[in-house]
Subunit: 142 residues, 2 copies
DNA sequence: CCCATTACTTATCATTTGATAACAAAACTA
DNA sequence: TAGTTTTGTTATCAAATGATAAGTAATGGG
């Protein structure tokens, strides 16, 4: 197996993933939040409950800036903070009711476009895709 | 095949791809250029020669902003512009010698990290990965 | 109890990025 | 050739983002 060729394939693959992701997610976010805020909400949606430190680490945003953006999201009533009862320095962040509604709508929109994209795939294609996602998830993008 | 489940798998997959891509590419770019400028150079590297319009479309940057960033890259001697002889409105953008050196170094660094990541994969694993990349590239991220 | 560490906040500033209006030059079109 | 479209530029402004310094409060280890 030529690892150099595999690298090149990986480069164009990730480029395609980014491009398609952009296509499926463009204009799904409300105008009332910024792109970075949307990313934070998306991360919370998938991983909640999370701490500000988690967000800082995983979204690669400094703690001061994370704190600022969370404050803004809080002021917009999209998230809720709960202090850990064990360690009162820690905060657990969750989507608020409004936040959940906003993200449900956004993800439904993305899902619609996704289903549209695979509408012409045969049963076998879908199974191939499913297997391929598993393979890459476990062996490359772990 | 449950398409809803496939969508969820797709969401976590793309999240992983973005995360791993970030890991492999972090700190590879010179401090003398901004993230957006790096993306433009990367796009030029893969697709050259390209026109400003191509960059604007594919990188989702407005023409005025594309023009501004290209001007900055030009001032840093990282790219060269050549006017089309047939249609003199068009410009073809290429990496300059310096630009090529910069991107070669950056990509070599990314490749090093990539090889590191797959160093423990068996021959069969690599073949699985290779096939999976092909499947997804043709059937999902086309 | 004291000191170091952790988790998070506040304030401030510079830079980057995005958006818009107005323009110029070349090419196409009727 | 006059008007329109395409391709790209310049200028300007506001907003988003990133970086840093300084601070608070809770925890944990001697």
């Amino acid at each position: 197996m030529d690892k150099k060729a595999l690298f090149n394939k990986w480069v164009s693959f990730t480029t395609s993933v980014h491009q398609v992701t952009h296509e499926l997610t463009q204009n799904v976010k409300s105008d009332s939040i910024t792109p970075v805020q949307y990313n934070i909400l998306e991360y919370i949606t998938v991983s909640q409950p999370v701490t500000p430190s988690d967000i800082s680490n995983c979204q690669h945003i400094s703690m001061p800036n994370t704190s600022r953006e969370l404050k803004k999201l809080s002021e917009k009533n999209l998230i809720e903070k709960v202090t850990d009862t064990e360690d009162r320095r820690k905060q657990y962040i969750r989507l608020s009711k409004d936040g959940k509604i906003m993200m449900d709508e956004a993800l439904a929109f993305v899902e619609f476009r996704f289903l549209n994209r695979i509408q012409n795939a045969s049963k076998e294609d879908l199974e191939d895709i499913d297997r391929a996602l598993d393979v890459l998830q476990t062996k490359l993008f772990y």
